[in-house]
Structure formats: C-alpha cells, structure tokens
C-alpha cells in the first residue's frame, strides 16, 4: 500500500529548471491524495512558461508513476497565489501580465529611458508580448522616442486604453500633458498616478511589462514595488564612479523590498567613432563590472555611446526598430535574452504567501 509520505518523498526529487529548491520545499505541492493506487496531486505552480510547466508536470507524473503500487497519477494545477473568494490583495499582480520588470537608475541622464524603450522592443523581437509604461512622471520621454501622442481613449468601464506602436502597448503621462507644461507633482499625486497606470490601464495579455521608472528612490519607486510583485529590477548606470555609487543606493532599495535586481546595464560605456570604429572610454571604464563584482549582480551588457542611438530616439524610431542589425540593437537583444533567462530561473524562489481564512 502506497503512503502519502512515500509520494511526498518522491516529489522532493523534482526541482524545476532554475528553481532553488524542490517542489515540496518550495511549498508548491498543496495536497496529495491516494486511493487504491490512484494518486491525485494538487500542484500550485507560480506563473511560468508553459513549456517549463509541462515539463514539471511530466516529471511529477513520471516520478510518482514509477512508485510500486501506483496505478494512475493525476496532477491538478491549482491557482497560485490565492484562490477566488479570498481577501483581495492590494498587491495583486496585474491580471494578464506575466512579468513586470522595472528599469531604474538613481541618477538622471544615464539614458535609462532609451535603454527601457530599446529593451522593450528587444523583448518583442524575441517573441514576447510587451508593454512599456513610462512612469517617469517628471520627465516623460516615451512620446518623443516612439513618435506617438494624443490622448488615450477611455472605455466605458473607465479603463485607459494604451497606444500601440511597433507592436508594443505604450502608456505615458506624456500622453496627457501639453508639451510645454511643467510637471509638478506632490508625492501622493505621484503615488496615485503610478497606481492608476498599473491598475486602470487595459494592458491586455502581456508577457512582459517594462516600467521606465523616474530616477531616484522616492514615492514612485516605492509605490511600484508595493503595488505589484515585480519580477525584478534592472539598474542603468554609466561607467564613472559617481554614477556607480548611486546605483548602490538603488540596489539597496530593491533589496529592502525583496525585489531581485536582475542586473546592471552599463550605458554610454565607450564612444564608438562612426568613421574609424575606434573606442574611446569617455567616462572611464569598469563601473558596471565593479558593481557586478561587488554585489554579485550580473552585468547584463554594455551599450556604447553611438550617435545613431540618439538620432533614432529623437526621431521616434528607437534603434532596435530603426537598425535591427546595428551592433547596439544586437546588444539589446542579447540583454533581453539574458534577462528572460534570469526571470525564468528565479521564478520559483519567491512564491507569495497564501492567505487563508
């Protein structure tokens, strides 16, 4: 006669690709029932890629099916986290959005918005359904970089419809402002706005929502990390020491709220002469590597200072779209690929708690 403990024991051998621990230790096995050799397992996976989920389910069936006395194995996938009818969580993930990735910097002028825009397009090139939220309420730059504007429509149920360009769904406070008006926000207004952009925008089904954060570690950042569970944050820096020093603050902020820092992107790493192709390290070198080394955070890539990047952004066609074969565009695609792999690998490590009763 097969016992539940035997089955559970066998399940501890299953560790999904990239997971930190086995499925039992991660708390993903909700229940095990057995009757006359027929086993029913309730499995609560975190949001994950379908191929990975199917592979894990197959592993469970194979492992348990191989036990003596097991005639039949049924794996029922249940919702994680939380089932309908439980207390509504204020930090509920945005329905339909799989992973939210914040692109931040603690200092302005490092090219964060350019990086966010091109990274979003690079995700799309990899077949992901992507949204880009320009949460830089003080200096929205998405309208210029994508050459889009005009007020988004609002549905009858008071949902804001994002604009679309190059296959991305786009939202920015810039859509609601006149070009010349200064953006002066009090803290609570910023928080309200960020909340609205996360919850009241009709994002639809997305694999990735890239959030271009305002520089710094203030209200907008805090709201973001409190309102939704982020898959992770990416810090953008330039190579000089003063910038990398600031990045440490950004990393510390993410750590305080237990949001993984997926990596660092070093922007304006070096100047690539369009005529002769030589490299000149205008801002010194190695800042990103230093951070990566010191904090154990991967350096996702180095983006050179190339006039084409700026021109592309200013004319409403980011370089990944404008010149997909450009070395910079390919660097962005590599970064996007690495980021997706990192997000996938850490998906299991942080299933949110289940609230009961």
């Amino acid at each position: 006669m097969i016992s539940i403990d035997d089955i559970r024991e066998r399940l501890t051998e299953i560790r999904p690709h990239g997971a930190r621990d086995d499925i039992v230790a991660l708390g993903l096995v909700r229940s095990i029932d057995t009757r006359d050799g027929a086993v029913v397992i309730h499995f609560a996976p975190p949001a994950m890629a379908p191929q990975l989920l199917n592979a894990t389910l197959a592993d469970i069936r194979r492992a348990v099916g191989a036990l003596d006395g097991v005639r039949q194995v049924e794996v029922k996938v249940v919702n994680n986290p939380g089932q309908p009818g439980q207390a509504a969580a204020p930090a509920a993930p945005i329905p339909g959005v799989r992973d939210i990735i914040a692109v931040g910097s603690t200092k302005g002028g490092v090219g964060k918005s350019t990086v966010a825009a091109n990274l979003a397009l690079a995700f799309a090139q990899l077949g992901q359904r992507v949204g880009l939220l320009d949460a830089d309420v003080y200096g929205p730059s998405l309208p210029i970089m994508f050459g889009v504007g005009g007020r988004p429509q609002v549905t009858e149920s008071k949902r804001i419809v994002p604009l679309e360009k190059f296959g991305l769904r786009l939202m920015s406070i810039g859509f609601f402002l006149d070009d010349s008006s200064p953006v002066i926000w009090r803290g609570p207004m910023v928080m309200g706005l960020v909340r609205q952009f996360l919850k009241d925008v009709e994002w639809g089904t997305l694999d990735i929502l890239v959030v271009d954060m305002p520089p710094g570690t203030g209200d907008a950042q805090l709201t973001l990390v409190q309102q939704v569970p982020l898959a992770g944050g990416i810090m953008v820096t330039t190579p000089q020491a003063v910038s990398t020093l600031d990045v440490q603050r950004g990393i510390a902020m993410f750590e305080q709220v237990k949001t993984p820092v997926l990596g660092v992107i070093e922007n304006m790493s070096f100047y690539e002469c369009p005529q002769c192709g030589t490299h000149d390290e205008l801002f010194g070198s190695g800042g990103g590597e230093r951070i990566a080394h010191e904090f154990g955070i991967p350096l996702l890539g180095r983006i050179p200072l190339v006039p084409d990047v700026r021109t592309a952004g200013d004319t409403g066609k980011p370089i990944v779209i404008d010149q997909p074969k450009h070395s910079v565009s390919q660097a962005f695609v590599r970064i996007a690929q690495t980021t997706l792999e990192t997000v996938e690998a850490q998906r299991f490590t942080a299933a949110p708690p289940e609230i009961i009763g």
Partner: protein
C-alpha cells in the same frame, strides 16, 4: 543578496478570531495574537506618536481582528484591523523578528538561577 533569501511566509492564516498563524518557507511556525500584532504596528503614526499614539483598542481581545490581510509587493503584508487602522505594512523581516514563539523570544532567564 542576503535580504532576498531571508524568510518569506508560506501561509498566513487567521485563527478563530484572536490570532494569526504564519508558516514560513523554512518550516518555522508562529502564532501571533491579534492584539500583539496591532500593538506592534510599524506604521509611522503608531511609531512616532507621543508616547505611542495607538488608536484605542476597545472590548475583549476577541473583538480585535483583521478585516483584511493583503500582500504588499514581495516583502510585506498589510493588515486592515477591525478598529479601522490600516496603515501598517508588516515586512516579513519585522514579522519574523516579532515571532512570539519560545524559540524566537526565549523567556527571560536568571543566569544565577537556571
């Protein structure tokens, strides 16, 4: 990144009406009386008041209970209490430190008199 691998609750369960049970990912389990949690509310109004400006907690212990518990980002929960106080964000680190079990909060012991 040590703080990210720090304890995270697996389940948070309301027991009867007077306490909350937290089972952590590492298997540790703690039962927090409602009043104890409410009195340790980490929000600014409760922490910075003079001396500690708690909203008056009226009635028997059973009358203070969480109306709603929600997850805040990846690091904390928020509790809306039956006394209408709802601004406290209890980080997992704080909750683990507050764990009232004997293992986490050993009873005061007299060294000369074990």
């Amino acid at each position: 990144m040590p703080s990210i691998s720090a304890p995270t609750p697996r389940t948070i369960k309301r027991l009867a009406k007077d306490s909350i049970e937290i089972v952590w990912q590492d298997g540790h389990c703690g039962v927090y009386p409602n009043r104890y949690l409410r009195e340790n509310c980490p929000c600014a109004a409760c922490r910075e008041g003079k001396p500690r400006r708690l909203l008056p907690v009226v009635g028997a212990p059973g009358e203070l209970y969480p109306i709603q518990i929600g997850v805040v980002g990846r690091y904390a929960i928020s509790i809306q209490w039956s006394d209408q106080h709802d601004t406290g964000i209890y980080s997992y680190d704080t909750l683990r430190q507050l764990c009232p079990c004997d293992q986490c909060q050993p009873p005061a012991r007299d060294e000369n008199n074990p």
